[in-house]
């Protein structure tokens, strides 16, 4: 007997149609959290799910002096001591591919 519907094929067809045109952009992203009163941990990555090991992450004062020059480790994170002066964090994956996080936007534990 001829089976009228083939559920597996139908599901595959729907999935292929639905996900064929999804965006393939990968925007930089960075998240910083205070792990304790002294330390801040930043995690970098891209919106396609890839990590950012070795990417520059600088902690810069409001007067534009670089307080902590750093690079993300193999786990795409960097932990640094909270500077005394006012600062912001700059995740710098190249010109135009940066994320800025102001000190006011860093979550405290």
């Amino acid at each position: 007997m001829i089976r009228v519907f083939r559920p597996l094929q139908t599901v595959l067809l729907v999935l292929c149609t639905g996900f064929s045109a999804s965006a393939l952009a990968h925007n930089p992203m960075c998240e910083c959290k205070a792990v304790d009163a002294e330390q801040i941990k930043c995690t970098g990555g891209f919106s396609d799910g890839s990590g950012a090991p070795g990417v520059t992450l600088d902690v810069i004062g409001y007067d534009e002096t670089i307080l902590v020059p750093g690079k993300l480790g193999a786990d795409s994170t960097l932990t640094f001591k909270k500077p005394g002066a006012e600062f912001y964090v700059l995740f710098d994956a190249g010109p135009g591919h940066v994320v800025e996080i102001d000190q006011a936007d860093i979550e405290t534990p």
Partner: protein, 180 residues
Amino acid sequence: MNTHAKPTPDSTLRRFWLKWRFHINVLLLLVPLGFMPKYFADAALFRGDTGLGEREIGDVQVGPWSLRLAELRNEAPTLDGPAGHMKNFTAALCDRCRDQVKATYLRIGKPRSLRAAGVIFFGTPHRMGAMLPIPEKTKADAELWITMEGWDGAMHQAALPLNQASPATVAWLNQQGGKP
């Protein structure tokens, strides 16, 4: 004993299927027709036949240079997973500045430095694109800052109100209720 089982009569649905299946499959070929107007509109938009974008913002003077700016889509920012909401802008450099401008950046709020000038426009100078992240806590009276960097090292900036650059984005921000 009768060893030949009587063939069971087909159900109505099955008879209908057997009779009309080829016709129904021909109808399936018509389904894509419904999507064609959107497909051709998108194709024209991306090719540039309908201008820089769905909504032209106009010419913006940036120091000695200028660019024509447009919203690719006249709609609210779209969510790009964990990176947040994004808004696409397109731009074309003025005829005279094509050879002079090295990079063009876009940012909400005044950049702190050239390094943090925002997202970069990429593509040909006749039609460049940039994907600008729109933080949910952006104020409705925020400004869109354009930073242009020349090959000679010169840097020029200009700002325009966000409600002039993208009313759809401001409407969306107001709908978000101005997160702290």
